[in-house]
């Protein structure tokens, strides 16, 4: 095990340093930049599963626990560029790989997935092994194996067959090795052999494109396009981008982005006090996550809508499990679209149970957490964590007979000037959502006191989440934050000063195209800069979408 791990670490390091570019610098008149650096990104769990399904079909189960993703700047997609694999994590990958390999060689799958065996014309199975490794390698490594790679795999199969007692056992061991190889577990750019110094090869392009649009590895057509180098031409690239956006799999790609952007995966670990929120359950939580993703894809993909309308839409994906939370009748037994009437307090993403419940405490709401989330996620602003010695006694006393509403308790808490400086940034937005309890259900009063939902956004006073949604809809900050986030998601890294011109172009394009999310993805996918290895500043110069002083918030 330790030997494999060492090889893995070396291989990953090779992915970064093997091209001999780290350390050389260049300058564009701004801060000094590094030479082009290939990006190395660990597959997320969803991408791993998609890759196995792409390679071996949906009948192969992926069972096991993955190392948790790390978020950088709020995105796991960016964190994937910064994480390695721990020894414990490698053990998990190894166990998952062994289980997958066992299934591939099991009686019910072998004929389809392996398709050959040693025989009179292939007594040691060398040809069979070469055939399997070539096919599996193309899928798993997202590029053809070199002749030496195939030869090595065949040799290991034959040697393994002797030691392990049979051809299948030997080839199965080789497959486990492939599944634990950095070439599979990481997306590693390979520089192009010709052309610009920062260009990547066609298969690297195909991989970037596929994971951006589908959150999955390239399919046959895309691999074929890479093989023919047609991705290097604008026409060839456009053909593939159009095909992939037209595919139903594009919806999966959009879901993956918003799942990461809104950090919806955290719902898996969400729990609520059952006595306070009896209608909430793990089933409801999962449905709430799905609701948000379906609502988004309904508007942005199916209806090719304006991203900003997500903050004013009354069309919510709905299912029976969510009916009690939303207090609405749900006719269909599966998913359908429920349109809330004019005047109803349910309007826009901000009023969906997923975000409301996720950014609340187990037994009470939290305007601070909600406000912090909105600031950080939807406005790309940074809120610092609270100091360690904060006294939350007043805020947490939900049965306070004098301070009956959360707003009143927070205002009392803000008598501490140090707290007030941060809470002013978060609470104004969060308090406008107070008509939704910690599970996301509507309420008009708290302890029989009417709930005040007034607030200010960008110095503009408003009352209620519908008004806030409209302000978000009209705010350039909101759409610019999305552009910045999509860019970071696509490139797997934070925004640098040198990236600002590209972002300015994207923002202008996004606005000119009616804030259509599909067009934003298309623009990025067609932009030659998306396929370049980045040059990063040698001194930190990360740019926030809306630079503001750090604030703290936790209540």
């Amino acid at each position: 095990m330790s030997g494999k791990l060492s090889r893995l670490a070396l291989a990953v390091a090779a992915g970064l340093a093997g091209f001999g570019m780290v350390g050389s610098t260049t300058s564009f008149g701004g801060p000094s930049l590094s030479a082009p650096q290939p990006t190395v990104r660990r597959l997320t769990e969803a991408q791993y599963r998609a890759a196995i399904a792409e390679a071996f079909g949906p009948g192969i189960e992926v069972v096991g626990r993955f190392e948790p993703d790390m978020r950088v700047g709020g995105l796991a997609a960016v964190g994937a560029s910064a994480v390695s694999i721990t020894p414990a994590g490698f053990e998990q990958y190894d166990a998952i790989a062994r289980h997958i390999a066992e299934q591939v060689f099991a009686e019910d799958h072998r004929a389809e997935l392996v398709g050959c065996a040693p025989g009179s014309e292939d007594p040691d199975g060398a040809r069979c092994a070469a055939s399997f490794v070539t096919r599996a390698g193309l899928r798993l490594y997202r590029r053809p194996l070199s002749e030496s790679q195939v030869r090595g795999a065949v040799a290991r199969t034959i040697a393994g067959a002797q030691k392990l007692g049979g051809f299948d056992a030997g080839l199965q061991a080789v497959l486990v090795g492939m599944l634990t190889s950095p070439d599979f577990l990481f997306r590693i750019d390979v520089p192009a052999r010709a052309g610009a110094r920062d260009a990547i090869d066609s298969y690297s392009k195909a991989t970037r494109l596929s994971f951006l649009l589908w959150n999955a590895p390239p399919d046959d057509a895309l691999l074929a396009a890479a093989a023919s180098n047609s991705l290097d031409t604008p026409e060839g690239l456009r053909t593939q981008v159009d095909r992939m956006i037209a595919s139903p799999r594009f919806t999966e790609g959009v879901r993956a982005f918003f799942d990461d952007f809104l950090q919806l995966r955290d719902i898996d670990n969400l729990s609520k006090d059952a006595l306070i929120y009896p209608a909430f359950s793990t089933t409801v939580a999962a449905a709430a996550r799905e609701q948000t993703l379906r609502t988004i894809t309904d508007l942005l993909v199916d209806n090719k809508g304006d991203y900003r309308d997500l903050f004013t839409t009354r069309r919510f994906a709905m299912t029976r499990a969510l009916g009690p939370i939303y207090n609405v009748p749900v006719t269909a037994s599966g998913w359908s679209i429920y349109e809330f009437p004019e005047g109803d307090p349910r309007i826009g993403l901000l009023t969906q149970a997923s975000l409301l419940a996720l950014h609340s405490h187990p037994g009470r709401t939290s305007p601070t957490l909600r406000g912090k989330s909105i600031r950080e996620t939807l406005l790309c602003q940074e809120i610092s964590p609270p100091p360690a010695n904060v006294n939350f006694a007043v805020v947490q006393d939900v049965n306070n007979t004098t301070l009956k509403t959360t707003r009143q308790r927070l205002e009392a808490h803000l008598s501490d000037e140090e707290c007030a400086s941060c809470h002013k940034a978060t609470d104004g937005l969060g308090l406008s959502l107070e008509q939704f309890d910690g599970a996301g259900s509507f309420r008009s009063t708290e302890h029989d006191e009417p709930i005040d939902v007034s607030g200010k956004f960008d110095k503009v006073p408003f009352s209620g989440v519908a008004a806030l949604g409209q302000l978000f809809h009209d705010s350039p900050k909101v759409s610019q934050c999305l552009v910045s986030t999509v860019w970071r998601y696509a490139n797997g890294r934070t925004v640098e000063v040198s990236d600002r011109p590209e972002l300015d172009t994207l923002n202008a394009s996004f606005a000119a195209n009616g804030h259509r999310f599909v067009d934003l993805m298309r623009t990025i996918a067609l932009d030659p800069r998306f396929y370049l290895m980045p040059r990063v500043p040698l001194a930190p110069s990360v740019v926030a979408a809306d630079p503001q002083p750090s604030r703290r918030g936790r209540s």
Binding site: R320, P329, D344, F442
Partner: protein, 427 residues
Amino acid sequence: MLAERNMIKKLAAALACGAATFATTVALQAANAPTGGVPGTRAFVLNGLYIGGGGDPKGCQAQSPGNFDVYLAMLPPDKRAELSPPGKRGELQKQMWKHFGFRRMRLWPGDFGGRAETAKLPNDVQLHVKPTPEQIRAIAELNGFPKDRGSLAYMDQTIAYSSCTNPYDFPELAKGYVPYEGKFSTGMNLDGKAGSQSFTSPDGEKGVDNQLWRAVGCYKQQQEMNDPALQEKVMLSARSPTLIEVSGIDDPHNDPDVTVRVLTGADPLVRDGAGKPLARASFSLDPDPTLVNVMHGRIVDGVLTTDPADIRFVFREQIIDNLRVVRGAVIRASFRPDGGLDGGLYGYTTLTSYYDMVEHMTQDGADNVGVSCVGIRQAIDRFADGYRDRATGKFTAISSEMRFLAVPAFVVGAAASAGAQSQGTMR
């Protein structure tokens, strides 16, 4: 806490066997929140519908005995002592069945029917196809049942002959039966009269008609079930919950003209995270149009009262699948501040539909629950007081009170209120 759990277990066991009570859920349509539902309509799902009555602590001279109690009393003292311990229940039941000649045979090879042997079948009987009455007679004859005896039981999986299928064949098992003879009982004055058999309600109303409680109110299981605190913790007939829908509400406190529907849900009622019935869930309706009951009603000071109407609903719990028919039924219920509904369904339960439920629990169930099918059958026939059959001159129904608790719900689907439109729209 332990006692409470035991009580609930016993309650569930009693109902599983169809003990002389039933519970269902009722639902009205549409909730009262700003977001959902049909304006002017409220719906509820019933988590408990149980036989109510009583109130006089001296109403039962003793508790009515179950089958085991009766049979043990028939035995000589030494045999009685031998079979009385709880650990001897199996042997006791075996000897009792042998003594009375009870029969039970499974119709089809398989798991259904417990330890019963499999019946021989005539050639024209197809496996797993419910036999016709003629075929049932032929099966009984082929397997040596007494002449003209043998009925389907246990979800139509067995053919049986017992004190539950043929209660009047075993009058000995009614020995020791005790009726409720108190002066007081909850219920409603259904006929406007205050006769000798009428009760006085705890709040002084005269002429309360509740003969079903008189008939079954001294069974221990019935007394345990008649407990609102307990009923709040249980859900019965949850896979086919009863719904109550009130529509046409202009003023939820006082409205002289509302429409009330009693409906049967096709979706199960489930518990929420606190263990209570999940409120504001959506329910499709049973496709059987005869299970849609429409009543006219009014709301006075927050109390809903309907005009009398014949209604039909189902009670499905474990092996019981019972169509209940209540004639001249009246709903009287209060809207609770928490959005629920609390009240009763008063009327004349037909003897046929009530006893159908009792019979569904089977002889085995009656033995273990501690009731006597014979005692119940004789009692309801004796105390029946409504809807006299012109041909026979006998009453066909018995006055009754069924209490219920309900939480807000939504009625959805094609059979939801005609013309009703939710404020929101499903697309």
